[in-house]
Amino acid sequence: MEALQIAEKIKEKFPEETLDFREFRGQVSVTLKKGRILDICRYLHDDPDLFLDYLVDVCGCDYLGKKDVRFEVIYHLYSIRHRHAIRLKAEVPDSDPSIDSVMPVWVGANWHERECYDLFGIVFKGHPDLRRILLPEDWEGHPLRKDYPVKGPEKEWPGFLEVLDKAKRYREFEWHG
């Protein structure tokens, strides 16, 4: 099925949820409200004509100052049987950065959602194990947000200071043979 047809089908089935769809370089993205994202994903996965069984990727994007709604969670879906793809974009406002987890539909969303939580601070409701994944547990801030400095935080991460301190203390045991 053509990607535009899939977009039409989503719009037909969930007219109140679908905000917009756009084609660029042959790829179609559908912008959605976040409220019923799990229902939409389950429909796309279970419908025999669509059968989007392979969740390629989940990631976030921060449109600080560019769009009215600050965050977007982006899902890339693909059907190995029917060979068609679609991109879903769910709008997540800054005031309530949370969205339903799609793990009940695709188990593979597990780490992608954890990463999105880690780097953007978007909370995935219903995720069984929502912890930071790439950064340490006691890290402050979410680095991929646009207001996070590229050079890193001003205050050094305490874990690193600990390592430096340890290195200093163990210097007396250095071997000078």
Binding site: S29, Y54, K66, H76, I80, W106, G108, W111, L134
Partner: protein, 400 residues
């Protein structure tokens, strides 16, 4: 005697033991840390911890022009950096709306398959080394060394090559390089036979891999597995066949597919892939077309260096592209390519400036590391090592 044994078994209580495997452990192929809860030798719970190599590639990429972010992709999967470069430039070309010339596409296919063999060969060597066979490792590394020498001959770098460019490749390939590579291509199948003689029908190897880490086709797709890890379960999803890029639609090759979804089938799939990669290289060398290696789009691709030094027009283009970056339409693209580990995807959001507004790397190793608890729980601790080897992860790509 039996009574005594019964008595011992009754009074002998096992306690759940927690073992931290890694991050400094040779069998974890980098800095993967697993916390294993063990009941005797059985793994009850396995929790992977990643992120030790996190460098913030996505954040760095958002603050560089499209050309300057190319070397970042080398550092993702550092043992097959050529494939990452090819994936990156394909995604950027799709975003720019340009196409590389025919010859450059063939060259990229050749070097990508060289990267695939050099990655699979190190996977083969280390995987069998983890399970206890030293000899194939030594033989495999000798062949990888030849490929690295060829990379050096091609572009001067052995590991982090940065050879493909947006709109083509950096330099044309020489006849000497082609001759050396063709020699390698002719000899390689006999080396493959050597490895297979040592491993494929080996009794110990089969005992350690057949029926270990089984995952069904539906489940593998649901987990988002790609590459050899998915094809071992019997799904023929290969980006080179499904979305042909570069010259893959012009060469004839097969996609090896397993049946049982265990470690042994994944091994067979990757071994088959190496032979197919060799076939692709052979066809590409034989049919290599003549022509330019960079596309003619002066506002979107870097001009050739010798013209920059002679010609005002090219100098201006060079200056603008390096300092400000190209001007491209707003939009977003996702392009996946088949790297040795699986599907490596780049997702770019462009806001019309010379830098990507959002650069997302869909790393296959990241997904494959997440499936490790599913494969390992309920098995023996020795099989955890076999599972880590068989999913073929590189932590540089996993942590980004």
């Amino acid at each position: 005697m039996d009574k005594e044994m019964e008595e011992i078994e009754r009074t002998f209580e096992t306690k759940e033991l927690t073992v931290s495997l890694g991050p400094q452990h040779p069998a974890t192929h980098g800095v993967l840390r697993l916390v294993l809860h063990l009941d005797g030798e059985t793994v009850v719970k396995c929790t992977p911890y990643v992120g030790y190599l996190h460098r913030g590639v996505e954040k760095l990429g958002e603050n560089r022009t499209y050309f300057a972010a190319l070397p970042l992709s080398d550092r993702l999967d550092y043992i097959s950096s050529m494939n990452n470069n090819v994936g990156y430039v394909n995604a950027v070309e799709k975003l720019f709306g340009i196409e590389a010339p025919e010859r450059a596409r063939y060259i990229r296919t050749i070097v990508a398959e060289m990267g695939r063999i050099s990655s699979h060969i190190i996977w083969l060597g280390t995987h069998v080394l983890d399970i206890g066979a030293t000899t194939p490792f030594l033989h495999a590394m000798a062949q990888r060394e030849r490929l690295l020498d060829l990379f050096e001959e091609l572009c001067g770098a052995r590991l982090t090559v940065s050879y493909p460019r947006v709109g083509g490749v950096r330099n044309d390939i020489s006849q000497e390089f082609l001759d050396d590579l063709y020699q390698f291509v002719l000899e390689f199948p006999s080396h493959m036979d050597d490895y297979e003689t040592l491993v494929t029908e080996n009794r110990i190897w089969k005992d350690r891999t057949v029926g270990i880490g089984v995952i069904s086709a539906e489940e593998a797709v649901n987990w988002g597995l790609t590459g050899g890890t998915l094809r071992g379960s019997g799904v023929d999803y290969d980006v080179r066949k499904y979305f042909p890029y570069d010259a893959y639609d012009k060469v004839d090759f097969e996609v090896p597919v397993g049946r049982n979804g265990d470690c042994y089938d994944r091994y067979l799939v990757r071994v088959g892939e190496m032979r197919q990669a060799n076939r692709i290289m052979k066809q590409c060398i034989e049919n290599l077309p003549a022509g330019p290696v960079m596309s003619d789009a002066p506002k979107l691709t870097l001009p050739p260096k010798d013209l920059v030094l002679k010609d005002m027009e090219h100098l201006i283009h060079q200056f603008i592209l390096i300092t400000k970056g190209p001007t491209i339409p707003e939009g977003e693209v996702y392009v996946g390519t088949e790297v040795p580990k699986g599907e490596l995807g780049f997702y770019f959001v462009s806001d019309g400036t010379g830098k990507p507004y959002r650069m997302r790397v869909r790393a296959p190793s990241f997904v494959h590391a997440s499936v490790l608890p599913r494969l390992s729980e309920g098995g023996l601790i020795a099989d955890v090592i076999a599972n880590i080897g068989t999913i073929d992860i590189v932590l540089g790509e996993c942590d980004r």
